[in-house]
Amino acid sequence: MTPALELRGITKRFPGVLANDAIDMTVRTGEIHAVVGENGAGKTTLMSILFGLFPADAGEILVRGEPVRFSSALDAIRAGLGMVHQAFRLFPTLTVADNVVFREEPTSRGLIDRSESIRRVGDVAERYGLAVDPTAVIETLPVGVLQRVEILKALYRDAQILILDEPTAVLTPQERDKLFEVIRRLRDTGRTILFITHKLGEVMSLSDRVTVLRDGRSVADLLTADTDPEEIARHMTGRDVDLDQRAPAHQPGEAVLEVTGLSATGEHGRKAFREASFEVRSGEIVGIAGIAGNGQNELIETVAGLRPPDEGSISLNGADITDAEVLTRRSAGMAYVPEDRHGVGTSHRASVWANLLVGHQRDPAFQRKGWFDLRAIRDHARSLIKTYGIRSGPIGAPVSTLSGGNLQKVVVAREMSHGAPLLIAEQPTRGLDIAAIEFIHDRLVRFRDGGGAVLMVSAELSEVLALSSRILVMFDGRIVADLDPSKVTEAGIGLYMTGAHEDGPDG
């Protein structure tokens, strides 16, 4: 049987980087094919070439045995491909149906037929078990649903080969399970799925076959049934990796961050969280667990100074910062890795060095009387790039040329580099490869052991469990539990996260 897809000798060079180096890959019809590799290995580049977003410098693509040459994504779509990008591409103020039928709108007498498009989108959604309301407006929907909309977009165009770039990075475990059901159902209808992930557990449980990329080359093509996570990791990194580790406990010191009775309002005028009280002491990592949308993000934004509190107080090292400007908080010793690395944590069109500088542009190390010490700034940027293993071209290039994981490293490196006594980290390892996660975890632990205080939010329960000295669980805008990680299991935390313990804080 002819394979669904064959790539031969795909090569792509960007200024200073060989992103894809003569990659061969065969994808059989009706299989779930995982593509893994470290940050910057060339996964997104390969998929983008496959989807016609930009041309390869060399190489050949065959779809069902036919050589194809895509000059745009529209060609790829016509050939039966669909892609869900790492960052979604949806019109926020339009409805689900409008987004799905975009450029393929059903018409009646030359006008767009809205009710027909709603009907058709509803049909497709139902056929594949994608729970989405076609009339909902995009900006009101959680990320898990947005992703289903992206998948709908592809299915509406009758994609036979579906490419998913890190689809699980933004999902809660429940959403992820739903996505996996959908993917399996699609395979059972004869579709072919290519998906990128950094989580080897997902590779093992979902895929039939896995291709490993390293430094732009394809280094292994394995049957999932015949391999194990250690082998895959070895191919990815070229060395042995310890996949499981728990940080040893440590003796905490003085309170660095104290939050008392804090409440704030969310986007839609509803209370996002109320009466939050907790402290983070020096030498401890406090993890916040919760299903996305239960107030964690707003709580962190309020502490970081990006959202005004309704009541309550925040103090940092004993000084009240409840109403302080971001700059004041930063100079008082707060660093912050935000959840939204595209919209908040980086500025796409700004250079790599400009992105590595933000928040410290007024530090005496980088300027005198308002004049930049450009050499110090560049040296600092280069040393961060080296220490954190950020793969980038020249530091004057726009940061948008970095791969997803390397962008995340830019944010983490910047925030951890100034020795601020309090680090607030939202999803610190989202999108990172195994080695980078290991490295960041190691940094966090060393920072803690050096007397730093960390407030961490993560959708990865395993991460929260592995690193935290204490775990706060949020549900419906309240902190419902304060748990000792050595005494709980993922399942136990899960009960608090879903509100199964309604009797208030304990534990």
């Binding site: 989807f51 529209l74 960052a87 947005l146 971001v326 980086t346 400009a354 933000v358 928040g359 999108g431």
Partner: protein, 369 residues
């Protein structure tokens, strides 16, 4: 020999191709080609029209006039770019120029003393007045959440009305039929430099302003912070940049430049403040177009400003000598901007066959990874 030729040709073709794939270069070629067609269709000789335009812009007194007109165009482009680059949509350049122009004119007319004193004083007065006028929409946005985009634009009409009233009822020169102030005394006029047949000293001033902008953007904390705010406001706030305070500062700078240019137009060009003249000239809007074409880059503003100035001055000569209306210059300016704004490139035409690629129709990214 023959071999050399065959080797040489593709490189030249590919160089031309590369240049054409640059959106600005392509836009210029696109505009002039379409202009060519328009002139041709009206039955005139496009080659002759263009050569008369070029001659008119750079030969004889043309060069002096081109440089002279470039002063306010570059100045106003710089003023608007300072705001745009920081993410502040200031459309009030015209009002800031008019208010500053009248303030500068009055100081120049009524202050006794030597030119060395009166001229700088007039410039300062014009700058301060322009800045004060620009602060109205700035505070409107930071305190009352009224978008600068709208208020600054509407205040242009208010500026015209107020200055018109002041001139008509308080500072009217009865000896002429214009609604105008008295003439700026000889001694308080902007001196001319002994180059290119006598260009206003203000040309040196705008070149200095461009250089200052260039240095500020490349080397200073303020330049960095304003640019970061312009590129991504949420990122800037997150990085501790005080965007609101900065908005006021940026408007003050833009207004100051606008006011200085307005003053120059009176004491260095018209020598009297005539009601509505600065508005009718459309200089603030030409400046806006230049800033767009130059993508707000100070040095490119210098180049683009000279180009548009040459188009306007050359257009007059073309009308005289080739019987093609000077409005062609405006058409060309507009075509360039339309092409730049729609990011028209050579590749765009090639891609038409298959439709634009996904990236070009990129809706805002929501959610993230």
């Amino acid at each position: 020999m023959a071999e050399q030729v065959t080797v040489h040709r593709p490189t030249l073709a590919s160089k031309v191709g590369a240049a054409l794939s640059h959106p600005v270069v392509f836009s210029l070629v696109f505009a002039f080609a379409l202009g060519w067609l328009i002139v041709y269709l009206t039955g005139r000789d496009p080659g002759f029209a263009y050569s008369e335009m070029l001659n008119g812009a750079v030969t004889g007194s043309g060069l002096r006039n081109t440089l002279g007109r470039a002063v306010p165009i570059i100045g106003m482009a710089l003023a608007v770019s300072v705001a745009f680059r920081s993410g502040v949509i200031n459309l009030g350049g015209e009002g800031q120029m008019v208010v500053g122009g009248l303030a500068g004119a009055l100081v120049a007319i009524y202050t006794p003393g030597p030119g060395e004193l009166v001229i700088p004083l007039a410039m300062v007065a014009g700058g301060v007045a322009g800045a004060a006028w620009a602060m109205l929409p700035a505070f409107g946005q930071t305190r009352l959440r009224l978008p600068i985009l709208i208020t600054s634009l509407l205040l242009n009409y208010v500026a015209r009305a107020i200055t018109g009233y002041l001139v008509r009822f308080h500072f009217l020169d009865d000896s002429v039929t214009l609604t105008s102030t008295r003439q700026v005394p000889e001694i308080a006029r902007m001196p001319r430099m002994p180059i290119f047949g006598g260009v206003s000293l203000s040309l040196a001033l705008v070149i200095v302003l461009v250089a200052v902008a260039w240095v500020v953007y490349g080397r200073t904390v303020s330049g960095y912070e304003t640019q970061m705010a312009g590129l991504n406001g949420r990122f800037a706030r997150y990085g501790g940049i005080q965007v609101e305070r900065q908005t006021v500062g940026v408007m003050v700078v833009a207004g100051t430049i606008g006011g200085i240019i307005g003053t120059h137009m009176i004491i260095g060009d018209a020598y009297r403040f005539i009601d509505g003249e600065l508005v009718v000239s459309g200089l603030a809007w030409t400046g806006l177009l230049v800033a767009l074409l130059a993508a707000n880059h100070p040095v490119m503003i210098l180049v683009a400003g000279l180009l548009f100035s040459g188009l306007q001055i050359g257009g007059l000569a073309m009308q005289r000598n080739a019987d093609v209306s000077w409005r062609l210059s405006q058409v060309l300016q507009a075509l360039v901007i339309v092409a730049v704004a729609s990011r028209l490139t050579f590749g765009w035409f090639k891609r038409r066959r298959t439709g634009p690629s996904e990236g070009e129709l990129e809706p805002a990214a929501v959610g993230e990874v």
